[in-house]
């Protein structure tokens, strides 16, 4: 052996808190390098993602050939709503979906061991360590659709609405993320939770439509359940309404509630995650 070892233990870097931004950028970089390695897969995923967006848009273009309004939403207003839905979906699919899917598998196989060893917040590490870059095309598509709809909207939204929109968009993403990470964390107790993923897919489907359609004997209970108990209905409705509808007294209570719902979702999911990590029993070596 050579005599290249010159330092001894104890020459640690001072116990700094890691820069979460730098770590996230390293995750993003590594994910991009990996995605570029499998070029064909990246191209196919990108095409699939864009096609799904285009089909969604085409579906509503077809519907608006036969009507001028869906539950009080004109074509351009609804395009704003749709763009918001697609944007939230794209962000969730790019950042959280691959990680939450893998998280469940890591729990089952014991691969989570290494995440628990790192001197960094485990929830951060588990939630963001992989980024699905091909899904971000969807965000670009959604931004384009948003620009188009805003251009043709009869009334330009107020500056306040423009300021609040990205904030509530982030709240919506946070609610979706909370739901996803909490469901994934239950794998610790359930062993496997494929059904819960299906469950997640079904309930988030409700978030894709305006609140107004949930009325009547069937609609009212659904609206209450998915607004106040599992608040997926406010994910898209609150930000989209801010841009597409005039700011009036009807919007504000929901917007205030959205703040509370976001904080509560993040807090609850953190609680579930922490409890799950305490119950983690690893898998055989």
């Amino acid at each position: 052996m050579s005599d290249v070892v010159t330092s001894t233990i104890g020459d640690h870097a001072p116990a700094f808190r890691p820069s979460y931004t730098k770590v996230f950028l390293a995750f993003a970089r590594n994910s991009l390098v990996r995605d570029m390695t499998f070029r064909s897969n990246f191209i196919i995923e990108s095409i699939t993602s864009l096609s799904w967006m285009a089909m969604n848009l085409a579906y509503y273009i077809l519907i608006y050939q036969f009507t001028v309004s869906i539950a009080g939403w004109s074509k351009m207003e609804y395009f704003l709503f749709l763009a918001t839905t697609l944007f939230v979906n794209a962000i969730v699919q790019a950042l959280f979906m691959p990680n939450c899917e893998e998280f469940s598998e890591l729990i089952r196989t014991g691969g989570l061991d290494f995440a628990l060893l790192k001197p960094i917040d485990t929830q951060f590490l588990v939630s963001l360590h992989k980024i699905n870059w091909s899904s971000l095309w969807g965000a670009l598509f959604a931004a384009g659709l948003m620009g188009y709809a805003l251009w043709y909207l009869p009334e330009t939204p107020s500056p306040v609405a423009f300021l609040l929109y990205p904030f509530y968009l982030a709240c919506g993403v946070a609610i979706m993320y909370s739901l996803m990470i909490a469901l994934a964390a239950t794998s610790v107790w359930l062993g496997r939770n494929q059904t819960l993923y299906d469950f997640w897919f079904y309930i988030t489907n409700f978030s894709r439509y305006p609140l107004e359609i949930y009325s009547g004997a069937v609609g009212d209970p659904i609206r209450v359940l998915f607004t106040f108990i599992i608040p997926v209905l406010i994910v898209v409705n609150v930000p989209a309404r801010l841009l597409a509808k005039p700011l009036d007294g009807q919007n504000w209570p929901l917007a205030v509630f959205a703040l509370f719902a976001t904080a509560a979702s993040l807090w609850l999911s953190r609680l579930v995650f922490t409890k799950a990590m305490r119950s983690y029993r690893s898998a055989s070596s």
Partner: protein
């Protein structure tokens, strides 16, 4: 100075007993059988700073569980443990910065990327200053002779090469305590030797405290002065490797070569004949009777060659493992209905 202090550490699991067949599976939906498995049964252990300690034991003995408890991956059912003054399962970042765990059967590097990308990520997570990171990486890469492999995706590395990269990833932050769980499993003799040489050299230079689990006696003999034998979740022995034979083997093996084609017929009264090949015979003789047996044989017969040896270490340990497993089986609780 004690760096690891363990008292009464225990870990038990409740495991679902899946019955065979479709009908039993349906029945299992409503009524399940569980078994309590005590992976670690109240062990006490103290490790001094700078020690290289081997954990030996059969599969399922509790070695890996102990390492997982000490690294905070899982929490115990009972007992206490302090590593560098920290309680591992509190998972404090201040603790996690100061130790590392390498598992021979698990991979922590990004599978599709070159190992150097994972190393850069470690740099960010462990807040290693760039100059320090470059220096440590250079040292480790040179010692393990993997410089030409840094840019190769991990999935394209051989098992031995991958284990070297895993070691680099674990050592970049210069841990004071290193837990190694079967680091040479599945490696060929050359790769095993390379890893052993590296670990021996690096541990001596850095004065790291190392806990190693391995099934390979060569790893243990090459690296550790102190051996802890664990079986059925209990510590059966704590001492030197050579002390195992003194304590657990009640016999020695005498090899005798007689003139002519066959050995004399009265040898079995001195001990068990374990091997007979032409005029050569191996006798397993009680330790206390070695002198008497040898002098009688040599007085009575002409002997061309004679040697007295301890039984192979592997054999002694295997006997000990099976004895311990038998003891533990007698204590296993029966499956319970829930």
């Amino acid at each position: 100075m004690a760096i690891i202090e363990i008292e009464g550490l225990a870990k038990s699991y409740r495991i679902y007993q899946k019955q065979e067949g479709l009908l039993a599976s349906v029945r299992g939906l409503f009524r399940r059988k569980y078994r309590d498995v005590e992976a670690v049964r109240g062990i006490d252990l103290t490790v001094e700073s700078g020690e290289f300690v081997a954990f030996l034991g059969p599969n399922g003995a509790g070695k890996t569980t102990t390492l997982k408890l000490l690294s905070g991956v899982i929490s115990p059912s009972a007992g206490t443990a302090r590593v560098m003054g920290f309680t591992p399962w509190k998972r404090e970042n201040a603790y996690r910065r100061r130790f590392a765990l390498v598992m021979g059967q698990k991979n922590q590097l990004w599978w599709d990327l070159p190992a150097q990308e994972s190393f850069r990520l470690h740099q960010q997570i462990y807040c290693i200053e760039p100059a320090q990171f470059d220096r440590r990486l250079d040292e480790l890469v040179d010692l393990l002779t993997v410089r030409n492999l840094l840019a190769q995706p991990v999935r394209e590395l051989s098992l031995g090469e991958r284990m070297k990269m895993e070691l680099i990833a674990a050592l970049l932050h210069s841990p004071e305590v290193l837990f190694l769980d079967e680091p040479t499993i599945g490696l060929d003799v050359v790769a095993q030797h390379n890893i052993q040489s590296f670990l021996r050299f690096y541990q001596q230079q850095r004065k790291m405290t190392v806990l190693l689990t391995s099934h390979y006696m060569k790893d243990v003999a090459a690296l550790c002065r102190r051996v802890v034998i664990i079986a059925g979740g209990m510590i059966m022995y704590d001492g030197s490797l050579s002390g195992i034979i003194d304590r657990f083997s009640g016999h020695k093996v005498i090899t005798l070569v007689f003139p002519g084609e066959k050995p004399p017929g009265d040898l079995s009264r001195f001990g068990e004949i374990v091997e007979e090949q032409g005029p050569k015979v191996k006798l397993k003789v009680d330790r206390n009777g070695i002198g008497g047996a040898l002098s009688t044989i040599l007085a009575k017969h002409t002997v061309e060659d004679v040697s007295v040896e301890d039984p192979p270490l592997e054999e002694v340990i295997a006997e000990m493992f099976s004895l311990a497993t038998e003891q533990v089986k007698g204590r296993e609780p029966r499956p319970q209905l829930a």
